[in-house]
Point group: D2
Chain length 366, copies 4
């Protein structure tokens, strides 16, 4: 199994390699009757497109999406939506070095161990371009969620040592800074830091946060299909993510119960919580507060600095990786995190439709 399908009802299947003819996704199980046009998807894809600043690879890709099925007269039909994005910038370059050696921090060695050989051109299936299908499917999920008043906002929380100031949150800056930070001042400092990394032939890690507003209480299931468990899987399945946290996450381990419990209270006649350390999920089920999650992202493993490694013949060598690489993965991964979260929430919403007799009776009136 290559494990390219995710979801129970809203089920996505991605495919494609960095240097093959193209990449894409089949979105099955999207409810019928959702207004959808190409630009709903293209605008999401544009957010992860390379070449938009000095902080991203200069590789130019149009990443233009074509809807091949599942949409008719401006609405989803309930049939699978197949989306195709052609690769246009595959350099015919020389991959013999990558083919022959195992780049540190990459999946070259593990692919060879698993499959016996690999498509070594630009990382093949483990390239960052694999996320194109995720973002295309995420755009549709986000569109569907918006019909229920659910809104996702992901952004860069930190790059290397530079973190945003949450009290100075500026939503517009997310799309306007090259770092995707909602804080222009922090963004400027992060850019400086990244320039220093590049000068030193190095790269940087960072953190992405995602806030999901408007999720009704009751989504997610109590045991293995907990909403946070599925978010953790969805986010950890993004290439460079090494940790996932929900709400206050890591910090809760050092706390006392009296500090960490969120008191319930009543506000305008609705039950809500005085604080949201839990990040909107209790017992695996959404509690009506905003869902908060963070993804911790490793530094781009492709660096110009010489590194020790081993080639396919089992000889120790030194390599220095050439080519077009982002000095930090984070800004372009922001929309990927948002997409994976959207896909997960929509699936939970659909699965939950059959949770109780009352739901079903609202649908199947006799």
């Amino acid at each position: 199994m290559a494990g390219s399908t995710l979801g129970i009802i809203y089920r996505i299947t991605t495919w494609g390699e960095s240097h093959g003819p193209g990449l894409g996704v089949v979105v099955d199980g999207c409810p019928a009757g959702l207004p959808l046009e190409t630009n709903d998807i293209q605008s999401y894809l544009n957010r992860r497109k390379p070449g938009q600043s000095r902080m991203t690879t200069p590789r130019k890709e149009a990443d233009a999406v074509e809807i091949l099925s599942g949409v008719f007269e401006g609405q989803t039909t309930g049939a699978p939506i197949s989306l195709l994005i052609r690769n246009t910038s595959q350099r015919s370059g020389d991959y013999s070095e990558i083919a022959a050696c195992y780049r540190p921090g990459h999946a070259d060695y593990t692919f060879d161990q698993k499959y016996g050989f690999r498509d070594y051109r630009g990382g093949g299936r483990s390239s960052g371009r694999e996320t194109i299908g995720r973002v295309a499917a995420g755009a549709i999920a986000a569109k569907a969620l918006s019909e229920f008043g659910i809104q996702l906002t992901a952004y860069t929380k930190s790059i290397g040592p530079v973190s945003i100031d949450p009290t100075a949150f500026d939503r517009k800056a997310i799309l306007e800074t090259p770092t995707s930070m909602p804080d222009r001042e922090a963004s400027a400092r992060a850019e400086k830091y990244l320039e220093d990394c590049m000068r030193n032939y190095d790269s940087s890690g960072g953190v992405i946060e995602c806030v999901i507003d408007g999720v009704p209480a009751g989504l997610g299931d109590p045991v293995f299909e907990k909403l946070d468990a599925n978010l953790a899987k969805a986010i950890m399945s993004i290439g460079a993510v090494k940790a996932v946290e929900i709400g206050d996450g890591v910090e809760v381990s050092a706390r006392r119960g009296s500090e960490n419990n969120d008191a319930f209270r009543v506000e305008n006649g609705r039950i809500t919580k005085a604080t949201n350390h839990a990040g909107g999920i209790l017992g695996g089920i959404s509690d009506g507060s905003p869902i908060l999650l963070c993804a911790y992202i490793k530094p781009t493993p492709s660096i110009f600095s010489p590194q020790n490694t081993v080639n396919r013949d089992g000889e120790e060598i030194s390599i220095s990786i050439k080519g077009r690489h982002d000095p930090v993965i984070v800004p372009r991964a922001v929309v990927v995190v948002e997409s994976m979260a959207a896909i997960t929430i929509l699936d939970a919403l659909l699965v939950n439709a059959g949770a109780k007799m009352d739901h079903l009776k609202a649908i199947y009136k006799n």
Copy 2:
């Protein structure tokens, strides 16, 4: 969907509530021909049994497991293994307070929102006792993995502010300290800290680490079924876990690539890594190094201190939770983390059996 099934080939289905007749699990897809007896499972269950120290609830449960199917003449048959653990200590106590109010940090409110009502006795399906089925299934998985030289070791890494000293690692101490810490000195300090929590009618969070040795390179799939993604889901699906990290996890976000990449090298004729920041997984596939993961656990939400909350009638009230509760979830959750990791690794091992033509030709010789 209640989402009580996990896994593709090694597929477990748990069931049961805290105060119903019992709890259990059906383990489907265990390979035939594995030697298995009751005690292989009972010894795991005993590790999570309550009442073993002052640090755990004084509730006494025998937690004796009965094998109802799938084992014949001392071996697994390939048929589903059904395991039953009867509840024996359900106090007939008064649950009217819990029934009527929403305890902070618990799933009371979210269950009511999802299902319209709930089995409120002792937390029902969201009780910590739900993990019994996981541990029983994990015991079988660990036994199967041991046949391939794969060994799991989980332990308490920290409780509140008290962390172990990794340079003083003492494996035997895991089973011998009440904290499950592999460091007797740190354990003694953690016990003091917990006593202070209890005196203040409070509770503590903590961190569990799990090391998995002997995993062959090549397990896990490159996209959504990444080994780390499935570990993240499995671990995050445990009740009180709020963050999961693989390898250096959270810390990598502040690093540079040159610090974080693990150089490959050759040792005794085998390819290995000079460091293991990646925690044994590259591109979602095991790389042959030990797999390292951490689970961040929130403080027990049930505390004696008075807390503000809301009742089912939507009135703000103050409650003080009585009953038998652990001041920290961590020590008894150690074997749960180990179990969920074992289940995930075994499933990956089974799924991987069909990964390449060479594997299949080793099985289906003509």
Copy 3:
């Protein structure tokens, strides 16, 4: 994989062997709020219980069901419903002959080939008793369906050469004749035929029909999860079934289109069909007419007559099967067919809840 789980949202997992401690099923995904008591399930199990006439094995089993979880205060909670039926009549008899040889028409040889050995006592996992879990889960599904006005009726259509007269359909006779035929006259003839079979140390096959009334139009999906495809799988997965047909099934292959098409018409303001050759399903989706299906069942393979076969050492031998066996599987399989159909229809009903935006908006009002 032992493949003991079925369904997407209403998901059942059966377990147990003929001569182990018991058998059972875990029903996950049953909507919360369904009134359910033990007798709802027991009454279904009683319909497949042995020892009720000369036409069934004289083996006596109480087949008393215990609800272990998922029901609270007389309603399903949304949590998995675990059901246990203890075996009480396992003779300690001598199985050495069955253990050593491959009975014709049984799964002895294939189990040994698949798993390397087998639980040979009474057929083990491939015993007819395996259907107990199906019937228990089917009883719950049928109860849920009845809340939406959906009603299932299965019965014996033929035994050997004796078929019912559909124009003399007598619903009450299904539960009152030993053959489960809805035609007392045909039943009497079938009994005579079976007595002749028994006298000749032989057995008979037969056909079961199932009619499902009240299914709303729109259930089932258009490609692989077609309603008829899932019914075919569910029914063919019953031990002795060798063919499944929907509507006029086999006969349509010899027809012309003008004979086979069902004309739509309007009756009392509702769209309906003038005929129902299609058996209530068009393009994999229910059309609002009754769903009709037939299961063709092979003769009981266990017969007293001597048969040629091979033992585990690969030697040709002759055997004559002793023990307690039904001369025909059909009457006791009627409730199994009904159960598998109910499970399939309920799952389709739950999955369909997320099919279109209108459904979702009926549930998630803002």
Copy 4:
């Protein structure tokens, strides 16, 4: 859910409508290292292409397949294989009549009921062209199976009243007759019959048989994932199929056990069966004999003769269906049946790789 994904390890996802930009399939889980080129797939697709005789629709489609991913240097890589077939012959014709009315025997009415509206152009997702993705995925499965000595042969067994003579079986005739019958004489008679149907503005049903040689004993699981259950689902999920039988299927219901049981015997040192009434499957598991299955196919519902039906406004009308339609579905569906069988058998082979400890030890040697 649109239910467009099938399989556990070898998992296919089809998409596309008759009159959209194209159709295709994503094949995930194909083992790495299988030699594969475009022509392996194209040759299968050519077998279902329209316009090859008077017996098929004159619509001309190139049905040229493009491999978009998952193949590198002539071998499968283990990554998903995405296949695209562009539609080239969508007439811009007038679909207003189909859009407004419910054609008898078609899915028009049920799609509208399920989704609220439908892509009415040429049947949309329920067009026969939907099978293109199945055949493309089946071609790959058949190629993989051939590496293990497994060979599939499907053919037309009957058309209307004309059946082949099994004693005159002529394998070459399958690809050379316009009916796909392995009997040239019967084929000539069937052609005459079809001409008569066409003259009368009518259509015909028929039967397809599939023989699968070389399947090792042990494939399939004992309960819900029985090999015959999965074959039944796979075959019944093909548009016009109304019944599926395994081995002697329907006929066994009228037999006695002594007639129907297949005696085991030893031939050339191997255990085999004297007869094969069971069609190669016992207890849901392959027994090493050829697997035999039949699909009963309804007459093409699109006929020129006037038919009574209802329009979307609920008015009774008469229609006469124009356009390009096959007078019989069977010959072009032969390769679809073969493909679905291949997909099912390969998935069973992959799932079975983890069935017993011995298999796993052959792969994971330490």
